[in-house]
């Protein structure tokens, strides 16, 4: 257990609020019906890793729907079948780098290295966004993704679930496996969402919202916090290494990039 009292107080408050939230998502009869394959993420609050000076410590997240599973090669195949401009041989370099879908056997053939029930990877932000639009959905924001991903199998505030945090740290410390697991192999979190951790990294709609250099109002203290060795001193939750890793990873991305362990899932307003 974290010995810092302020964290404890905060944890207790979040715990109470969150326990109610995750329960509400499943128990209240008036809750909206989730679109097929999606889970309802009850409204709540996301606590960003870094906040600007004088900003509140939390960001409200409205209720939304989130895909229970990451998008698979099989689903992405349907997308490129229907949309020739997103096929590997046709996509413009502006929208995806040269490694786009590099593990597929062909334009319309995922092949041995990309089975239909594995999450699609080697996709750019533009491709992910186009897929979502084609589905009538959108990508989740960083706040939505992080909020949904904070939930453990038991509670919405998984950050206060030490056992869960240990499991997460273990995954985030492991190199990517040579072969990705199928989607949905692990436990769902309490919202009913699978694979937010432990399978692939995921694109978010505002992945480029991390302000780490040349910020508008010269909050160079934030830059220092992020770049120097004592980086975690300025962040709220010094124990949350996975969150730091995600923050750093997102900050390193550019929209046309494709990566061997970066996929996505879609969200939808309710």
């Amino acid at each position: 257990m974290n010995p810092r009292t302020n964290n404890l107080v905060l944890a207790a408050a979040v715990m109470l609020a969150a326990a109610a939230m995750c329960a509400a998502a499943t128990a209240v009869a008036a809750a909206p019906v989730a679109p097929a394959g999606m889970a309802i993420i009850a409204a709540g609050e996301h606590r960003p890793l870094f906040v600007l000076p004088n900003e509140p410590q939390t960001v409200p997240v409205a209720q939304f729907a989130l895909d229970k599973l990451p998008v698979t090669n099989g689903e992405f195949l349907d997308f490129v079948r229907d949309n020739p401009r997103w096929r590997r041989s046709a996509v413009k370099r502006l929208f995806a780098d040269a490694n786009y879908l590099k593990h597929w056997a062909g334009d319309l053939e995922p092949g041995e290295a990309a089975r239909t029930n594995q999450p699609v990877v080697w996709v750019s932000w533009f491709a992910a966004k186009a897929f979502a639009q084609w589905k009538g959905k959108r990508l989740p924001t960083v706040a939505e993704w992080e909020y949904a991903a904070a939930a453990s199998p038991r509670r919405a505030d998984g950050e206060n679930d030490p056992e869960y945090q240990r499991a997460l740290r273990h995954w985030y410390s492991m190199p990517a496996p040579a072969e990705l697991s199928r989607v949905g192999a692990g436990l769902p979190n309490c919202f009913g969402v699978f694979d937010l951790h432990g399978l692939v990294w995921e694109w978010t709609s505002d992945f480029n919202s991390a302000i780490i250099t040349g910020d508008a109002r010269g909050d160079t203290g934030l830059d220092r916090q992020l770049f120097c060795g004592a980086g975690s001193a300025g962040a709220k939750d010094t124990g949350n290494f996975p969150a730091f890793m995600r923050y750093g990873f997102r900050s390193s991305l550019k929209a046309p990039y494709t990566v061997h362990n970066l996929g996505f899932r879609c969200a939808k307003d309710l």
Partner: protein, 209 residues
């Protein structure tokens, strides 16, 4: 063509091309597919890395609706700002004015400066026009644009500009000036405030040849 849009200095075909692009894009809107998935039908090949591949629509401070491809034909010096910005944006604009002032006279009229707003909620064409006046930007050679949230996010992603709205509704953002060549490809970038303009001036002169 409105005075605030880049003069089609290079040639009449460039102007025709811009018009044709607009018309072609309109003609494809009838498709039932969302914008992500319509086939791009440009009447002339646009380079793979050109920002003019984007199909998004933007509104100028003159109320004119354009696509970015309408900017092609001359180098563009581009920055993203917002008009209620208290600190960085006036400095970015001032840096661009210093770049303009540093250009050799024979080049100056062959380059356009474009400001694009982060603030899709508050920066109406009227606000942009007021900003133009406040900053003393001439009608010729300066284009001010606003767009929808998704399109702003997409353009920022392509320029490598990070931003987010803070709790007060102000935008924290990268300070970045980008040079696009006449075909819409990124050829140079300068980050920071009160930049040294010499290198950018040289790159612009090369791009305007």
């Amino acid at each position: 063509m409105n005075a605030h849009l880049p003069a089609p200095r290079c040639s009449v075909p460039a102007a025709l091309l811009a018009i044709a692009l607009g018309l072609t894009s309109c003609a494809t809107v009838s498709s039932e597919k969302p914008p992500c998935c319509r086939e791009l039908k440009h009447s002339a090949p646009i380079p793979e890395q050109s920002l003019y591949q984007l199909d998004s629509q933007w509104t100028s401070d003159q109320g004119r609706v354009i696509r970015l491809a309408n900017l092609q034909g001359q180098p563009q010096v581009v920055a993203m700002v917002f008009t209620s910005c208290e600190f960085a944006c006036p400095i970015i604009v001032n840096d661009m004015k210093r770049i303009a002032a540093g250009l050799p006279p024979e080049i100056r009229g062959r380059v356009n400066f474009t400001l694009i707003s982060f603030d899709h909620e508050r920066d109406t064409p009227e606000k942009l026009l007021a900003f133009r006046k406040r900053m003393g930007l001439p009608m010729a050679g300066w284009t001010l644009l606003r767009g929808e949230a998704d399109d702003v996010r997409e353009l920022a992603a392509l320029l490598g500009v990070n931003y987010r709205k803070d709790a007060r509704g102000q935008y924290a953002h990268s300070n970045l000036i980008t040079l696009l060549n006449a075909r819409g490809e990124i050829v140079a970038q300068e980050s920071g405030l009160n930049i040294r303009t010499e290198a950018m001036v040289e790159r612009i002169a090369a791009a305007a040849k």
